[in-house]
């Protein structure tokens, strides 16, 4: 069984009965290996479709959890359960709960640093006061607005008025949290939250792929929220110095906010400043200063690093990129997708109204970005298989378009691997209008291909 990944969370969904006999069959060695190399913030086991489990049934997942934590520090645990299951797990593990419990997968997403929807108003309650605080801190670090209910009664009363909150959290437990660096996006700045002692482990906790992808798609301001940092050693110093050097190549800026140098030697600060890192006392010193934001580069998402052109190798492999898109659309719609025209040019979208887009980056032996631009109604048709219902919910359509582009990316990876070209793909990104897409790619040249299925036209653009 393999985990399905969304919003930086990998989820296993076993069904039926989990006991000592059955559960070991769910995870083969290959499944475990595949899980360990997933670049995710969390690995969870959904109990939504489990009708019976005992402690032995959960143990095989515990072994997986332990391997994951040793390997990549991701958060591990269970989700999608009712009160009865929650209590059973608590009884089984009592004081040894190093894993987390999220009542629903949607609650888990709120704690995932890759979840791109921030500023959610979240009501929360736990019988355990320290859990309440821990959840509030995590949610706040992820860019949400936590509201703590002090009693169960208060939680019940407030949560009955759900219009006031985006989510209500109870029956949730944060075990040993993932130690990956939490990431959130504010405007065109990316904020990383770091804490405690910074040492050699920073390089494994920090999602360098996400960071590089952010640079590539045009982010130029990276802020490290360092209020909770106690000290750093020379390994962390080297890490940040290198990060600053690579940011400089993109003309990007790295800032530290709230870093207290009481327990860290001042020469470290000087070294970091020499590497180009800027220091500020308060987050608002940056975020509320429009002039400074502009100066630091957060007013534009454009990638101003050398504008790279489509190279020969990319053009050679172009048919595979188009094939991956065509075959995916055909699979999703059961209709023939047709290539209408192809040209090397800056992206040209004649009519920008009611269009949405999604992009996915790839890197490795080849690098670049595939962008699909759809009229909203056509995107809905293309995603019908994944959506499964008639909806006008634009967030749902964008989410599903991201899933479709993710499938295109997966297929590109496979097709290129058949040619001995190894690439990895990034998380997909969506744009709810053409302007936000153009802000990112600006006048970069690429290959623009007009495609259609059932006479419905959409646009494919491949750029670097």
């Amino acid at each position: 069984m393999r985990a399905v990944v969304k919003n930086g969370v990998g989820v296993f969904t076993p069904q039926g009965f989990l006991d000592g006999n059955s559960s070991s069959a769910f995870l083969s060695l290959e499944d475990i290996e595949a899980t360990l190399v997933l670049n995710v913030d969390m690995i969870l086991v959904s109990l939504k479709r489990v009708v019976f489990f005992n402690k032995n049934g959960l143990e095989v997942f515990m072994k997986l959890f332990s391997k994951i934590r040793q390997k990549n520090h991701a958060t591990v645990g269970f989700c999608d359960y009712d009160e009865k299951k929650y209590k059973a797990i608590n009884i089984f593990y009592q004081d040894k709960m190093y894993f987390s419990l999220y009542k629903t997968i949607d609650i888990a997403y709120l704690f995932s640093s890759s979840f791109q929807k921030q500023n959610k108003n979240v009501l929360l309650y736990s019988d355990d006061k320290s859990q309440r605080s821990a959840m509030a801190i995590e949610l706040h670090d992820n860019g949400h607005n936590p509201i703590i209910a002090q009693t169960r009664q208060e939680f019940r009363e407030k949560s009955s008025n759900m219009g006031a909150y985006d989510a209500a959290i109870d029956l949730t437990y944060l075990g040993q949290m993932g130690q990956k660096i939490a990431t959130r996006v504010t405007g065109n700045a990316i904020i990383y939250s770091i804490s405690s002692f910074l040492d050699a482990e920073i390089s494994s906790k920090f999602n360098i792929q996400y960071h590089n992808n952010s640079l590539n798609v045009g982010f130029r301001l990276f802020i490290f929220d360092a209020y909770k940092v106690i000290s750093m050693n020379v390994h962390a110093l080297n890490f940040f110095s290198k990060l600053a050097s690579s940011a400089a190549e993109y003309n990007a800026n790295i800032c530290f906010v709230g870093m207290d140098f009481e327990k860290t030697t001042d020469t470290f600060k000087e070294t970091l400043e020499d590497a180009g890192i800027l220091f500020y006392d308060q987050m608002d010193d940056i975020l509320k200063n429009k002039e400074l934001l502009k100066e630091l580069g957060a007013s534009s998402a454009a990638n101003t690093k050398t504008k790279r052109v489509i190279n020969k190798q990319t053009v050679t492999e172009l048919p595979r990129f188009i094939d991956a898109t065509v075959v995916t659309i055909e699979m999703m719609t059961n209709s023939k997708a047709i290539k209408q025209s192809a040209q090397v040019q800056a992206i040209d979208i004649k009519d920008k109204t009611d269009k949405i887009a999604s992009s996915i980056g790839y890197y490795g032996d080849l690098d670049g970005m595939v962008i699909l631009v759809f009229p909203k109604a056509i995107a809905k048709k293309a995603c019908e298989l994944l959506i499964g219902e008639n909806t006008n919910d634009i967030e749902l359509i964008l989410d599903t378009l991201a899933e479709l582009v993710n499938i295109v990316g997966g297929r590109i990876k496979t097709l290129l691997s058949d040619q001995n070209i190894s690439v990895d793909i990034t998380l997909p990104r969506t744009y709810n209008n053409v302007d936000s897409l153009l802000e990112v790619i600006q006048d970069r040249k690429g290959v623009q291909v007009e495609l259609s299925f059932n006479d419905d036209k959409f646009l494919f653009f491949l750029t670097r």
């Binding site: 399905v4 990944v5 069904q15 009708v51 298989l385 994944l386």
Partner: protein, 265 residues
Amino acid sequence: MITKDKIDEFIEKIPPAPKALKETLALLNSGELIKASKVAQTDLALSKYLKNLVNKPIYGFSHEVKDISQIFGILGVSDSQQTVYNYMTTLLSPSKWLLFKLNAKNFYELQARLSKRWELILKHLGKEDKNTISAITLLPASIIVSEALFCHKIKDVTLLRATKNLDYNTILARLCGMDLFDICEQIALKWEMPKEIGEIIQASSGLKPSCDEDINLLAKWMHLLLFYELSQPLFIEAGLNDFVDFQVDFIGDIYDDFATLMEIE
């Protein structure tokens, strides 16, 4: 990926029930066990299947039963009919499984387990008429249909299912407006199986409850039994655990009763 035309083609290609089978079933239906066993013996594949199935440990015979008339005699009319229907279902199964890690032996094992436990359930519910006993035999056809329709699209479905947790039933329903259980019902019609068999199978998907409360009750037990068996290591490893979605809410009101009957602790 999979079109309605492909489904129609699949249904079209299903062979009608062989003459010997029809005759055996007709004789069983009229209670003529000896005559039925004589006709059954003329079909060598059926004879071999019957011997293989009833000698599985779950049938609990202390020594090997070889003679078809003896098998029919021991099983009685209802269970003999069920066994013959089980054989009919295997006629659809592929010589080589590609989508699921199955083989004939494991598939027969699943049939045997479902059949014996279904009998236990029906005894518990006091609903031991022969058509209801035979209803379980069509359920594994949903696995065969999935294999037949998706075996040439393994890469596509793997990619799709890595992105979204969709079962084969949902993929088919969304692409073609027809799901695995609809196809099973079509098979039942083609093989002139009793009408209630198709109805119970449809409701056992957990997605299309029947208006008939009795059929609904049987469907709940059948749905839970399917996932009880698909939680066995042999079938999890075959990739069957999530080939259709388990509807936990559908079986909520019978679970405790089921757990007691199956002695689940």
